[in-house]
Every structure is written in C-alpha cells, then in structure tokens.
C-alpha cells in the first residue's frame, strides 16, 4: 500500500531533514496490509500526530538556555525601543514592556523551531546557540553604543545652544528676555 502522494509530500517538506527518512518509512510501514481507503485516512491521522512530535523532539529544549535566550532578546528589544525617539516615552508604561515581551518570546520561539532543522550534531548545536547569544549581545551592545552616542550628541547640542545663545545674544535680545 502506497501512502497518499500529497500527504507524503507535505510531511517530507515539513519534517527536519535529520528525521525525514525514518519517519516517512515508519508511517508507510504502519499502513501496510490495510484497506486502501482506511490506509489513506490512517496515514493522514498518523502524520498529523507524529510530525509535530518529531519536530518537537529535534528541539534542544533546555529551560535554562531558553530563559537566557529570553532575557537577552528582551533586553535587546528594550534597548532598540529606547533608541527610537517615538517609542522612548512608551517604555514608561507597563503595557509597552508586555508588548516587547511578546516580540522577545516570538524571537525565542523562532530560534527554538529553527533549532529543530539544524544538523543533529551536538557540537554544531552548541556553537549555533553560542553564535545566537553572541549576535544578540553584540546587537544589544551596538544599540547601547548608538543610544549613548545619540544622547551625548543631543546633550552637546543643548549645551552649545545655551552657551552660544547667551554669548551672541544682543542687548535687544537680553532686554526682551
């Protein structure tokens, strides 16, 4: 009994490369000897239950690592939001922090799902996780640097305006002020 072509193509496309071969084989073996109509339905049902679990199994879910990802991502988003002059005042409200939290959680979820599609080598996964943290920290550092640079620049402009404003203000201006 051959599995339904469309369902098989979807399963092949969705599954991480490291488990395509044996999961497809197991799904096909399960429908051997069944009536064709029952087999087709059984294949789809099995695929619906098995594929998400097979993907989840490839995710290296370590709670400490996930917490670290979340913290780094959260801080990075907060700093980026701080940089934007329009959204800076929003960070004063708890709602904005919750919204940033959603972004951070989304980024971590994408990172975890992406992890399932990486090669199975533990060494590769370890360095990939390190690279991800490094990139987030680097971006955060860059954002901080830019933020401080921007603040220093605006502060300098204010000081310069005050200094030169007073110095070049004519007698008329001083009288009116």
């Amino acid at each position: 009994m051959k599995p339904p072509k469309f369902a098989e193509a979807v399963v092949r496309w969705v599954l991480p490369p490291s488990c395509v071969e044996h999961v497809l084989g197991d799904l096909q073996e399960r429908i051997q000897g069944l009536d064709p109509r029952v087999a087709r339905r059984q294949y789809v049902l099995d695929a619906l239950v098995t594929v998400p679990a097979a993907i989840a199994g490839r995710i290296n879910f370590d709670l400490r690592l996930v917490a670290l990802y979340l913290a780094v991502q959260y801080a990075a988003f907060a700093v980026f939001a701080q940089l934007s002059s329009e959204s800076r005042h929003l960070l004063a409200t708890p709602k904005a922090w919750v919204e940033i939290g959603w972004f951070a959680a989304g980024a971590v979820a994408v990172r975890l799902i992406e992890d399932a599609y990486r090669p199975a080598s533990r060494l590769y996964r370890f360095f990939a996780a390190l690279a991800w943290i490094g990139a987030a920290v680097w971006l955060q550092g860059l954002a901080l640097g830019l933020g401080w640079g921007y603040l220093a620049y605006t502060r300098f402009l204010d000081l310069a305006r005050d200094y030169y404003g007073k110095r070049f203000a004519g007698p008329e201006d001083q009288r009116t002020s």
């Binding site: 051959k2 599995p3 488990c19 071969e21 044996h22 999961v23 497809l24 084989g25 197991d26 096909q28 073996e29 399960r30 051997q32 099995d46 239950v49 098995t50 594929v51 998400p52 679990a53 097979a54 989840a56 199994g57 490839r58 290296n60 533990r122």
Partner: protein
C-alpha cells in the same frame, strides 16, 4: 562515583522496549512494545519519537540508519541501542521501583493477609 542521570517513567518504558527488542529496535516495534508495556494507556508514535530523541540527547541511547528496504518504499529504518548510561539509569529506576514495591507489599501483606498487586493478576 560517576554521576548518573535519572529518567522518567515513559523513558524507562522506552528503554525497556529497546532492550527487549534487541537488534530489532526501530520506530514501529518500539512503539508496539511500549504500548504493550503501558497498557491500558495508549501511546502515540510521536511521543515515542520525542522520547527517543531526548534519550539520545542524554547519551542513553545511540541510533543509526539501516539500508533502505522495499516494504517501506525504499526508506531506511533508524535502529536504536541502549548505551551504558541508559542501562545504568534503568537499573537504578528498577531498584527504586523494587524497593517501593517491597515496602508497599509489606504494608498491605500485614493489612490484608495477601501480597499487594494480586488483585491485578
């Protein structure tokens, strides 16, 4: 003394299934064996995959792909083998379960005049 990692109840079932199947331990037979062992609870193939991957990450199980077979549409089987860490963890779990069983049967032996668990036979 080496530090051994503990394993959950479902992981113990999967390890037992792999050990009993010996050189025939791949997805489908492991799933069937786990279903037998966990009766009356039903177990999905997906749950077995997740557990096998977790055990492999813990270093308790190793796996390899066989040659393709025609009855599976020319696809390979992924065979599993229990490693020393897995055997150690399973043995420790069995010893703990045995101790628990002895303690419970001692209590119920005194109370009911028969061994605990006989009602399930």
């Amino acid at each position: 003394m080496s530090k051994s990692e503990s394993c959950g109840q479902f992981e113990q079932l999967v390890l037992t299934a792999i050990l009993t199947l010996n050189d025939q331990a791949y997805g489908i037979p492991v799933h069937k064996k786990v279903q037998q062992l966990s009766k009356p609870k039903s177990v999905t193939l997906g749950a077995v995959y997740v557990t096998l991957d977790r055990l492999e990450n813990k270093g308790m199980v190793s796996s390899w792909l066989s040659d393709p077979t025609p009855e599976r549409g020319g696809r390979s089987k992924r065979y599993y083998k229990v490693q020393a860490a897995g055997e150690r963890a399973l043995r420790e779990s069995a010893v703990t379960a045995r101790r628990m069983w002895d303690a419970l049967s001692e209590v119920t032996f005194g109370r009911h005049g028969r061994k605990w668990g006989e009602a399930w036979k």
